[in-house]
């Protein structure tokens, strides 16, 4: 009789342990997928920005053709950013930072051309690009939040045991270290 009770208690403990194991494992998988999904969101927005730029450059050319240097810098930065795709998070973040800097310089230049600023196409592109810029930073924000959550789970006890058993590795944060972005000129619209 006593043996039966001990056996039952043991069985219940083992069962609870297995349930916990499954739940933790699934939680880790869910968080890992969330970070992956968040990363692909950044890519979608970066791609959108790459696609919008040729159109913008064409529109600006029509009004401010002699700002060639600024325009070429934007095209150059865009091409660098496109070729940095798939070269790792650090490389890509740097190239995209450069593109953000070049774009903000272009918009600063555009301020001096009233006709350009009144152009509907330009206004629509400006809204699209500044919103895309926002979307990039929001998707980066969500990606970093997800990575923090995922890393916490892989490193904190007791879920770190499960993470270690099944090889869940900590994720990498998306940090903008590009020189260009840090030195982006402060544009005054006053």
């Amino acid at each position: 009789m006593v043996g039966l009770i001990i056996g039952l208690v043991f069985a219940v403990i083992v069962l609870l342990l297995i349930i916990w194991l499954f739940a933790t494992y699934n939680g880790l998988v869910r968080l890992r997928n969330q970070t992956k999904n968040a990363w692909s969101q950044i890519d979608v927005q970066l791609k959108r920005r790459h696609d919008l730029i040729p159109n913008l450059v064409e529109t600006v050319k029509g009004y401010a053709a002699h700002e060639r240097q600024t325009l070429e810098a934007v095209i150059q930065a865009r091409n660098t950013a496109v070729s940095a795709i798939g070269k790792g998070i650090g490389e890509q973040a740097k190239a995209e930072g450069g593109l953000s800097g070049a774009l903000s310089r272009l918009f600063a230049v555009a301020e001096q051309y009233p006709n350009l600023k009144a152009n509907e196409n330009f206004l629509a592109l400006q809204e699209e690009l500044s919103s895309t810029e926002n979307k990039i930073s929001f998707s980066r924000q969500f990606y970093n939040d997800s990575v923090l959550q995922y890393n916490n789970k892989t490193q904190m006890a007791p879920s770190n045991i499960v993470a270690g058993m099944f090889g869940f590795k900590a994720g990498e944060f998306f940090e903008v270290k590009g020189e260009e972005e840090r030195e982006a000129p402060k544009v005054s619209f006053k």
Binding site: Q34, A38, Q41, Q45, E111, A124, E127, E128, S131, N134, K135, S137, F138, S139, Q141, F142, D145, S146, L148, Q149, N152, V187, F189, K190
Partner: protein, 408 residues
């Protein structure tokens, strides 16, 4: 951070359970009083409740949107609004882009609908679009998106249906009890003068019929007010800019225009109570929303951060108590320091010029939705012709030229 959804669920289940208990008690005692069987009363109450739930679950959002005369928009109808919603969809990690609706109403308000994050919609009034700048609009949309993300819409629908069922049952129950003089109870005891047991049941049924709706409403309000604080906290976190939402709420508080198409039952879904009266005190139990000035003060007391921890601290400071507005389990896993972002750079336009631009943008969007035809006179005047305009020609009031209307 998103674990908050789960820990909230437990608290919500308890409150919904309390509401359900009120319904069960009411059904049972009304059944005892009329039908002589508490069980039958219970069954009727539950059947009414289930039918109402099914309607609310599958048709609720369509119902609300059609009652408030909201119109669905696409990405090109109002690009700024669409982009802001998409930005907040990304920031909150919502899996699907919600539908976006505009209500043609000068009042400033917004609400979220939909039973799940996959079937969701964000609705804003044209008045809001005209008066808010981008940061403020973002704050409002973030607040609504967090209602969707926190599953508040489903919870509030569930609660308002429960409340509605209780109110209906209590209303009919108390009328019949009062006007029939409790004949049901007498019939049950075989006309033998009515036993004291039957009399007690009658009294209990009557008291319940009167008190149940009041109780239910208080529970309902308690749930919905807590949700508003949470949505404000999430809104600040998603935008990383509490001032945007604070300033939006301030504009709403200062406005005196009431919403025409609002309905009492849907009040908790709006960002600010559409029926609010000024000067509501903080302890007002009968409000679906916390006082708007208090919400602004909390958002502005967040000391240079946008995290849940900061919001919770600001809440305690403003309310002057030690209560957590955000569940402790959420606070434990969320980052303590989340830095805020810079405001959008101000465009080189005066505030009034921006207002005119926004008004143009909104009226263009609304005209498009109402299928108006756009026409430009060679003198530079722009027309928008309503779809029911019968004539083929329109005379320009500025230069007197007759303009042919295309595709007529």
């Amino acid at each position: 951070m998103w674990a908050q959804i789960r820990s909230n669920r437990i608290r919500s289940v308890i409150l919904v359970g309390a509401l359900a208990l009120v319904l069960v008690l009411l059904g049972y005692f009304l059944g005892e009083a009329f039908l002589g069987s508490g069980l039958w009363g219970l069954i009727i109450a539950l059947v009414v409740w289930i039918i109402m739930n099914l309607i609310a679950y599958f048709q609720g959002d369509a119902l609300i949107l059609s009652i408030s005369r909201a119109k669905k928009i696409g990405p090109n109808d109002h690009p700024r609004l669409w982009n802001v919603v998409e930005e907040m969809k990304i920031a909150s990690g919502l899996e699907k882009m919600p539908d976006v609706y505009i209500i043609d109403d000068p009042a400033m308000n917004a609400f979220a609908t939909g039973r799940s994050p996959k079937h969701a919609a964000v609705t804003v009034t044209s008045g809001l679009l005209q008066k808010m700048n981008r940061d403020e609009l973002q704050g409002v949309v973030a607040h609504e998106i967090s209602h969707i993300q926190n599953r508040d819409v489903l919870l509030m629908t569930l609660c308002s249906v429960l409340l509605g069922t209780i109110v209906i049952l209590a209303w009919y129950g108390s009328r019949i009890l009062i006007f029939s003089g409790g004949s049901g109870g007498r019939r049950r005891s075989g006309g033998g003068g009515g036993g004291s047991g039957a009399a007690i049941i009658l009294v209990v049924a009557l008291v319940l019929a009167i008190l149940a709706p009041i109780f239910a409403q208080l529970i309902y309000f308690a749930i919905s007010r807590k949700r508003e604080y949470l949505a404000d906290a999430s809104g600040a976190l998603y935008t990383r800019y509490p001032e945007g939402l604070a300033s939006a709420l301030e504009k709403i508080a200062d406005s005196t225009i009431g919403l025409h198409s609002a309905n009492q039952a849907f009040a908790p879904m709006y960002i600010a109570n559409p029926f609010r009266k000024e000067g509501m005190s903080a302890s007002d139990l009968t409000s679906t929303h916390p006082p708007i000035r208090e919400r602004i003060r909390i958002l502005r007391s967040m000391a240079g951060g946008a995290s849940f921890v900061e919001y919770n601290k600001a809440y305690q400071k403003v309310r002057n108590n030690k209560q957590n507005v955000i569940p402790a389990s959420t606070l434990a896993v969320s980052a303590a320091m989340v830095s805020t972002r810079q405001p959008e750079p101000a465009p080189d336009q005066s505030e009034s010029e921006q207002k005119i631009d926004r008004a143009r943008e909104v009226s263009a969007a609304l005209d498009k939705l109402h299928k108006y035809t756009a026409l430009a006179c060679p003198c530079g005047t722009a027309f928008r012709i309503p779809p029911d305009y019968k004539g083929k020609v329109i005379r320009c009031p500025r230069c007197g030229r007759d303009n042919q209307i295309m595709n007529k």
